[in-house]
Symmetry: C2
């Protein structure tokens, strides 16, 4: 009885919180689609970096303003992440592509996950179409290396995990991108890039800020207990 | 051909890194089992908080020194997390319990996930046996509220998510625990407690430090790009 009461209290509290974080975000930069949801494709590859996948999924989903589809790059089957977690995509990339276009595509990295994205002509083609259409891309860690392979966002400032920045510099013989070492999160036009696992929270809040405005992102960061000085890095 | 070469380079680099993080951690507090692995049970409940589940799984697994079993509290079936991620446990809790004892049990929280743990007599009984046997428990967010329900670690200093601390104070009418507001991560004897999503990385590195020593934890934190000043909070 006590626990039923406490559980109901929890639900009521959560509902209040959700309401608080979703009502009128007073945004000056609201780019959500007319439905009010930011239609988002999050790519799930074998060996993907868990923090980059799940922190991003968590933050965007908890806003209640992003409609997140976790798409299995190689199909609808279970994917084993870099930390051996067994995750089932919401749908295959093939299926998800048919339900596009999207407002946002998120590319996580991972020492094993990133090469899967780099090697995928299917993902490359879809991202190129998305960028040509004016869509936003958020890429972290090796996801940024994949963007260079796809040939998108030339001329933009882009960052990544130190190891992948080394590979990106070797790849970028014509100096077509501006590879940046210092920033933990970079927003240049419609490209949001970030370094790696430890910067995923800032990356996620930068995405929220881009679409819903800073007050919304700050309220959510506060709920997750992120400190102001960490959040301010984004 | 270029990408095959780069992929092989990646693998070689990762192997080197793994070797670097696992060899002779020069620990003064090595409590790993004789096999060299810390046998770990991570509880996965419906509605569990994604950051608390997956950051912990990621950090512990990447050490290569923890043998992590993700156990489904209600069975072997797919679990939907708080961020609507679909995760398949490594095995059911029933099955995992038979393969005990464990060195470490990890209890994540979540506004929906924590009440599942609080209400589970099965988890309660198993945690009580584990604590009586001298096992270590790491609990974050509402996982700490569950520990109080199970009646373990009385007299210990314990922290949690602000909302759960409020519930814990209401529950703790006899003042049998020392509920702490300030610390992001607390280690008191064999109890490692922490506040919530944003403190999960520090919580995970505190677990690594407890079992493998500080140099090992720092090397891993550095790999994930966590800054020294964040890590020092643990």
């Amino acid at each position: 009885m006590l626990f039923t009461a406490i559980f109901l209290l929890l639900l009521a509290n959560f509902a209040t919180l959700t309401h608080a974080t979703t009502r009128s975000p007073q945004t000056s930069n609201r780019n959500a689609t007319r439905s009010g949801k930011v239609k988002t494709l999050l790519l799930l590859a074998y060996g993907g970096e868990d923090m980059e996948i799940f922190i991003t999924a968590d933050v965007l989903t908890k806003t209640k303003e992003f409609d997140v589809t976790v798409a299995g790059v190689t199909g609808p089957e279970m994917v084993i992440t870099g930390a051996d977690v067994r995750c089932i995509p919401d749908q295959s990339l093939d299926s998800a592509m048919q339900k596009g276009p999207y407002d946002l595509i998120v590319l996580p990295g991972g020492l094993y996950g990133a090469p899967v994205l780099v090697a995928s002509d299917k993902v490359g083609g879809f991202v190129r179409q998305h960028v040509a259409r004016g869509g936003v891309v958020a890429a972290i860690c090796g996801g940024n290396w994949a963007l260079m392979k796809y040939g998108v966002f030339k001329g933009k400032r882009i960052t990544s995990f130190p190891y992948f920045r080394m590979l990106m510099r070797q790849f970028d013989v014509r100096k077509e991108w501006k590879i940046v070492d210092e920033d933990r999160v970079l927003v240049d036009g419609k490209l949001i890039s970030s370094q790696g696992p430890a910067t995923t929270a800032e990356f996620s809040f930068a995405i929220v800020e881009y679409f819903l405005g800073k007050p919304h992102a700050e309220l959510l960061a506060n709920f997750f207990l992120f400190k102001n000085d960490l959040f301010s890095l984004s």
